[in-house]
């Protein structure tokens, strides 16, 4: 192991530039450790986000040597090329400063995709029984572990081409709710995720699935939404979808 790591870090906003730092190499060092070292020991003005450090909160995603990754669970050993790391904010989102991307549009799209659970029962009702081996439950299970890190959104070509596109994470969320048998918002949600800005814009490039740190397949969820919306469009009254 060489003793120093050459790190190029994005500084400033959209018109910023990379700044070079030298960071000591350590065993089992993560990319987040590198960023934290720079802020604590070299330049305290460096802006970046993190919270849990253990892959739960989804706040530390950045572009590492050209690929979006969760930095807290990305070991330097795996990604440094000849002792060099290049760190930038997530793509497809506006830059606030340094390594901080503005996540508003990303989460607004969750709301636009009907990402909110619509209850059909009250607290007076008995707890809903959902069989763990039922098909909807298994479909929801396969997609439910999203931590909202934005890696898939930054990796998606369609987001780059079509700014209105809801993106893999929001559509994946919509798919989990479409499979929640307790939810009452299914029809409105399928309306919200159909069409040019929704699931039908997906090209099945599978970048989201390739990059998802949780090993989810938003591509699969989006394919499920395509089938569900198609059935809804063929079944429902024309004015519902005009």
């Amino acid at each position: 192991m060489s003793t120093a790591l050459q790190v190029r870090v994005w500084r400033g906003g959209k018109d910023g530039a990379f700044q070079a730092f030298e960071v000591p190499r350590r065993e089992s060092q993560t990319v987040l450790d590198v960023v934290t070292h720079i802020q604590r020991h070299i330049d305290p003005t460096l802006a970046y986000r993190f919270a849990c450090r253990v892959g739960m909160c989804g706040s530390c995603a950045m572009t590492v040597n050209g690929r979006p990754r969760w930095t807290c669970r990305t070991h330097v050993d795996r990604v440094a090329r000849e002792g060099v790391l290049e760190l930038a904010p997530l793509a497809n989102l506006p830059v606030v400063r340094d390594l901080v991307a503005d996540m508003r549009e990303f989460f607004d799209k969750w709301a636009r995709a009907g990402g909110r659970f619509v209850p059909t029962a009250t607290r007076a009702d008995p707890v809903a029984a959902v069989r763990p081996d039922s098909k909807p439950r298994r479909e929801a299970d396969a997609a439910i572990e999203c931590i909202g890190c934005g890696v898939c959104y930054a990796a998606c070509d369609v987001v780059a081409w079509n700014p209105a596109y809801l993106g893999p994470a929001a559509l994946n969320r919509a798919w989990t709710l479409a499979n929640d048998t307790r939810d009452g918002g299914r029809d409105e949600r399928l309306l919200a995720v159909a069409g040019d800005a929704g699931c039908h814009a997906c090209h099945t490039h599978m970048s989201c699935t390739e990059h998802c740190p949780k090993g989810l397949s938003p591509t699969r969820s989006i394919a499920g939404l395509k089938r569900a919306t198609l059935r809804a469009v063929l079944r429902q009254a024309p004015e519902d979808y005009e």
Binding site: A194, D196, H200, Y241
Partner: protein, 115 residues
């Protein structure tokens, strides 16, 4: 652009893709057969002229290609050139009709011998 229409265009592109996959296979097999057998153009035309089965097959092929191509080009223009809305819809409809007419003219030629 209504959602219903958007979803129907998506479905039309998938259905025509499936049709095209079959048509292309038959078309390629026919080409290879004709070339290997050493058939001349006039011999080929002798077989296609007046044959309703070939005319129907190639008419379906042409129409599927016109629909599939126009929807695909519409998507490319929207995503890569940012051209969306009424103008693009009209242009792509014209493009689909143009492709269909060109193709059907060729079908008419191999079926009837005119054009």
């Amino acid at each position: 652009m209504s959602l219903r229409r958007e979803v129907r265009l998506w479905l039309a592109q998938r259905v025509t893709a499936a049709v095209l996959a079959a048509c292309v296979l038959v078309h390629l097999a026919t080409i290879i057969y004709a070339v290997r057998g050493g058939l001349s153009a006039s011999e080929i035309l002798g077989r296609t002229r007046g044959d309703f089965a070939w005319a129907t097959f190639y008419a379906v092929f042409v129409l599927a290609a016109a629909v599939h191509g126009a929807i695909g080009l519409r998507n490319i223009l929207a995503e890569w050139a940012g051209w969306r809305g009424g103008g693009a819809e009209v242009a792509m409809t014209v493009f689909a009709v143009f492709l269909a007419l060109l193709g059907l003219r060729a079908v008419a030629a191999v079926f009837g011998g005119g054009a």
